[in-house]
Symmetry: C2
Subunit: 90 residues, 2 copies
């Protein structure tokens, strides 16, 4: 199984658009001080992306799973063709 | 194939440690103004993570692939047990 296979499984629609996907997994052996890391990084990574492009809120899908030993986050952003150019960094 | 299967395939070692994995894919139909997005986000996401924990440089694996239509980034960080506590946000 490859990472690229996962990303490509959703690319069959012949629509001209861009997509940005972010997957994050935090694996830990004990419940420790980093237990909220995925939730924290979710907010901060979304802020980083929003610095560079207008993120259409209705085109963002976020899935989060906080398990006992592995927490995962999946963010899928469909970028409309109308979004032109990178925003300058703040 | 599931995302969780990908993340779990590397968890067999019975070592007490934490791991943070970040996968990023940028899919585009034409070469446009976002063509360097993955490289830009790589630097900024690493900075976001470093705000919260001491990232041991020798325990970071980064794979980046810039294709014509899909660019991907994979970051795998092994967090040593000696790293205690979340850093306060800057």
């Amino acid at each position: 199984m490859s990472l690229f296979g996962f990303f490509k499984r959703q690319t069959s629609a012949p629509v001209a658009r861009e997509r940005l996907q972010v997957l994050l997994a935090h694996e830990r052996t004990v419940v420790g001080p980093h237990s909220d890391l995925v939730a924290i990084l979710r907010e901060e990574i979304m802020a980083v992306i929003a610095k560079h492009m207008a993120v259409p809120q209705d085109k963002v899908q976020i899935k989060m799973d906080r398990g006992a030993s592995v927490s995962t986050l999946e963010v899928d952003i469909e970028i409309p063709a109308s979004v032109v150019g990178l925003r300058p960094a703040a």
